[in-house]
Amino acid sequence: MSFNVCGKSVKENDVIIVFMGHDSMFPLSVKEGEITQTKYGAIKHNSLLGHGYGTKFSCTKGWVYILQATPELWTLCLPHRTQILYTADIAMITLQLDLKPGSVVCESGTGSGSLSHAILRTVAPMGHLHTVEFNEGRCNKATAEFGEHGLSQYVTVYHRDVINEGFPVENAADAVFLDIPRPDEAVKVAAKALKTTGGRFCSFSPCIEQTQRTCATLRKPGSGFCEVETLELVRRSHNVKRVYIPIADIGIGDSEVRTALIKGENNTSSVLPCAYEAGDDMPVGEIIIRTTPENKDGLSSSKNPKRAKFDMSSSQISQGGGKSYEKGKTPPAATKYAFSTRTCILPKEIYGHTGYLTFATYRPGLSHKV
């Protein structure tokens, strides 16, 4: 029931999220007497009952966090029956479709229900979602899921082909969302479902050809649609880490490096201009001196290598306390000095493309965009 009403602690039949790490979580429907196996050992549902949300739960071989289900967490761990929509697109769709409590929305196809849950969160309790799916199995599974999540009263799932049979309602929707193979052929039925006083339309297509056909259909005179816009979102999650950039030996001694690296003293040095903000003596990162080889041998066995920090100037801010909580390498061994700074970088592989979002306003009987 946790999608709809939330208690402070786990109750029977709650759908909870078992959080084991960023990329490792799963939903769980709590049933008395059942046991679920995880990589950290077994979770006995009986001992989950009454457990506080947002706190750690000890399994036999470790611990996990027990979280309340939200549409966003659901998106991250739902059982995939199709390709699904992710948070950045969902957020944009919700805003661009002018959704708010009370909105009536038509959606096709239901797919795995990722967007449906987010729509329901926003339009409930006064609004309603009519969601159409042409695959019978997915349709039944979605219906069961909405029931399990306590959302049945806000959503109706229909098994039909939207292009041939249209949406189940006419002149009733504030917004229509399409995520189907041939969206251009459903523009007409979308217009029929929308209120004659106007509404918003969105079509999600992974391919540009579909998008082109959809835009052309939307722009046809007499379609009733205007303000056609297409956009694409790529949401990127950064890793925060500390990096060490070795400083090459250019044949000067310690004290000279010190002078060279700290701009100031006679204001002539520009060995490492990148390390400073213009006109600022404060390093953006910090210059550290490598530990001596003897020390290094001792460190290699230690998990938390100590660094002898070169005390550059009294004004320098000591950062972070030197803890190894950030992802990052230990200083490279090749050079004596290294420039150290906190940065964030993108993972090696990211989603470079999800789909093109085409939005339009339905305003029949009124002239085109100014």
């Binding site: 706190t55 957020a91 409590p101 979102l233 002239s367 100014v370």
Partner: protein, 451 residues
Amino acid sequence: MEDGIALNKTVILQRNNVLKAVKLIPEKVIVFERMRFKPENAVGLPFGSVFEVKNGDLNPVNSSLSLEEMETAGEDNRNLVDTHGKSQTLNREDLIQMKEDGATGKEIVQSLVENSSSFAGKTVFSQKKYLKKKQKKHLAYLQLLKPTSRLICKLYQEREPAKICHMRIDSMSQLLTSTNVRHGSKVAVFETCSGLLLGMVLERLAGKGSIVNLHPGETPVNLFAVSHFNFPDEYWDNLHSLPLHKLAPLLAGNSFQSTFDESNKTTCESEVPLESNDSSTDIANENNSKHEIAIPVDIKAVENLNEKACNGPLKRKLSLSDKEKTAIRVERQKKRFNHQKAAWELLESRNMDALIVASRFHPTPIVLSLLEVLAVSKPFAIYFEYKEALMELFVRLSVSGAAINLQLTDTFMRQYQVLPERTHPHVMMRGHGGYLLTGIKVRPFSAQQEK
């Protein structure tokens, strides 16, 4: 909300992708894009109607704005000679003369086409481009739209990005989605985005639930954009404002009464006490009233608040007697005091459903304090223009163990021109949309063990 354009409501004006929010006040001349007009003629028409400005009035236009396809057009630009502006025989004076003679925008564009020696040699595409450019300039058309979150976001993003901390529409949308804001949520918000976020959250609460608006300074100056949404009065009842600097006393366990008494002593020494012969005998209320007038306030925000506090359209200030003014002020102060109290109580229960921060201030101290009032297992989302501050906060939070599922993200948003044979991303687009840090509050392991 009733449909159709009405007086004393805010509408969004649109012309050539330029947006402006204005309140339609009877007989008041609106200036927009060098057009001047009175709103009366638009009343009762549906939102989205197109108007032409003529003689200071709005005239509904029904024709489609795309001009008929030209008969003659070149194949490509091999015969096009770059004449550096000499192909047009009409000059500025001619155009001004035409306008004075009462020519419509359409006629002007038509004669520009006729007097252009190069127009016929252009390809259909560039003819269209030329027409679009000239229409933009000479047609005094505009559209009146219904204010929605989407349009108000767009308006601020295009016109006044600095007032919303350069947040782009994708960041705004994600702030609301990632914090699971919905009907009935209790949301803590700290923003310096002119009230845009408050408005968006209020829209999603739709009259149930509450916002605690923590604001810098003494009075909420960040309510201006909220007034664009045309919210019914009961929506405003859910918006409780409290100065951010009251947060530390609150978290230290001080009572509301003692905190506000304390601040009165320090900030209200110089001002004249309010001579209210009103029936308000509540001591705390009076204290609070004093507290209010000592502070320089943002006129717009107060006007706005004033209006809402009075529960009805604000009469012209001039027509009010001093006594009435005082009564209104006392009423307003009483309301604000009640809201502050409500905000205090909500925060004191440390059971907020969501936390949203989007400001020009460094987020770390704000977020670390505000996390205290968020219930466990609830989401938070922080926007900041620069990633460095969020990187710092990210590390602090991951070390503290008070949050999981931490994600520092930005979004690459690309808009497309989708036309037959001419599909490509827009040539110019917003380069920067800011960064988001999202996560879920949990009880740190150590705290749990103590329990």
